[in-house]
Amino acid sequence: MSAGLSLRGLSKAYVPGKPVLRDITLDFAPEGVTAIIGPSGTGKSTLIRCINRLVEPSGGQVLLDGQDLVPLRGRELRLARRRIGMVFQEYNLVERLSVMENLLSGRLGYVPLWRAWLRKYPAEDIARAFELLDAVGLPDHATRRADALSGGQRQRVGIARALMQRPALLLADEPTSSLDPRTAVEVMELLTTLTQREQVPVIINIHNVELAKRYCGRIIGMHQGAVVFDGPPEALEASHLQLIYGGEGWQE
């Protein structure tokens, strides 16, 4: 029984015979930020989604604190999912709901349905939501509708929603790819400091190698569904990037 997340021989093929993930075995410490880098279509998103089972793995194990999530179904799966927060590339906020409702939707795995329906959330959940709104720098936005926010603001709400779950693990799928460079840095900064403060380990899919090196303690490079680099940012060299992304001319 080890704390944190472990992947054992994880594989996924959407079409039989064409694996997107090939036999991934990785261990993640229960703290710190890990970046997964790699070209588009190399299975980074699939890998992240296999962890919280938004995508069904074809084989292997996903062990969270020693419990294999792959065979879970129904209620057990939902109990496991509520411990895993997720931040999305396109924020995936419920556009027609208020910021507060979006945050509280992070508690849907915990509160009874009638409470969620009537918006009668426990006072501590609401207090926590306000606390997180302050933390992500949107103290006055609780009653704004999500579709009235800018991209950067939406992603801040997305981060707050994920943290509302009090997750044991946070997954981020290209959280900065839809943002302008400056907002991307701000969001990365926020994501890493907040999760550090709350001691939540993070796994981030990210396109931007510079951001990955700057904010992440560990970098995993993927190429064609397999891990080809795994180490601290300092160890990541041009030769590794060639291995991950292929070619060479683009690096100058």
């Binding site: 109990l79 999912r81 997720m86 999305f88 995936n92 027609r96 849907l108 969620a116 779950q165």
Partner: protein, 256 residues
């Protein structure tokens, strides 16, 4: 050498010619002659003259019939909407598995396939004369209509929002409440108002086949040649529909 900028569409030209020829053929087949049209208009003039002035003397019968129509419309709309919610959800191909959505779609199509007057006749034969048959017939018609619209609205939602709610560990009902409902709620309300609107209209007709409401009164007045009372009924129906139109336009505007 001349170049052609536009290619002639011979298929369309041929189809238009065929349509024109068919119309001429149909007119001769149905014995619609100039003389027939003239006598028809003459009769129509006399008919209109007998309708004027509208006779509101039997206003109590009129009001009774109108109220029954309104009750039929409201009851059938409410029942139709309540039944359409689960049907629409089950028929949505993005949320329901094919073995559920396909038969439900079939059922909805069945509800739509027969005109509501035919359904009303069937119900009159099955459950007897009166408002119950009208309510049942219009409920079926409403289901066929709004369940389909509900399903289409659900199929157009963004699955990203649904995925995000699912990722929080929410159960199926939680996903519906937070991921699906907010995306479709305002459109659903619009459909419901539209349906109430058209049920008001439809409820004035089902009475003609004995399914309750003002239509029965209207049909009886026709049969007794009380054309001035017919005029009064028609004016009342028009007023009701206009009023409903105004109210629903208001509500729909408020929703946006």
């Amino acid at each position: 050498m001349t170049r052609t900028a536009f290619t002639p569409n011979w298929t369309a030209r041929g189809a238009l010619l065929a349509l024109a020829l068919y119309c001429v053929f149909a007119v001769t087949q149905l014995d619609i002659s100039w003389a027939r049209i003239l006598t028809g208009f003459g009769e129509g003039g006399r008919f209109l003259a007998r309708m004027w002035p509208p006779n509101f003397e039997r206003w109590d019968t009129l009001v009774e019939g109108m109220l029954e129509s309104i009750q039929i419309a409201v009851l059938s709309s409410v029942a139709g909407i309540i039944l359409s919610l689960p049907l629409g959800l089950m028929a949505a191909r993005n949320l329901s598995p094919a073995w559920v959505s396909a038969p439900v779609r079939g059922f909805i199509a069945l509800c739509r396939s027969l005109h509501y007057v035919i359904v009303a006749i069937l119900f009159v034969k099955a459950v007897g004369f009166g408002a119950l048959a009208g309510v049942a017939a219009l409920t079926v018609a409403s289901m066929g209509f709004i369940a389909k619209l509900f399903a289409e609205a659900i199929e157009e939602i963004s699955m990203k929002q649904v995925e995000a709610v699912r990722a929080t560990g929410a159960g199926p009902a939680g996903v519906l409440l937070y991921g699906v409902l907010p995306q479709v709620a305002s459109r659903f309300v619009g459909f419901c108002i539209y349906q109430l609107d058209s049920n008001l209209r439809n409820s004035t007709l089902v009475g003609i086949v004995g399914a309750g409401g003002i239509g029965g009164t209207l049909f009886a007045a026709f049969k007794r040649f009380d054309y001035d009372f017919v005029a009064a009924i028609l004016l009342s129906i028009i007023a009701l529909i206009f009023l409903a139109e105004l109210v629903s336009a208001r509500v729909r505007k408020a929703l946006q």
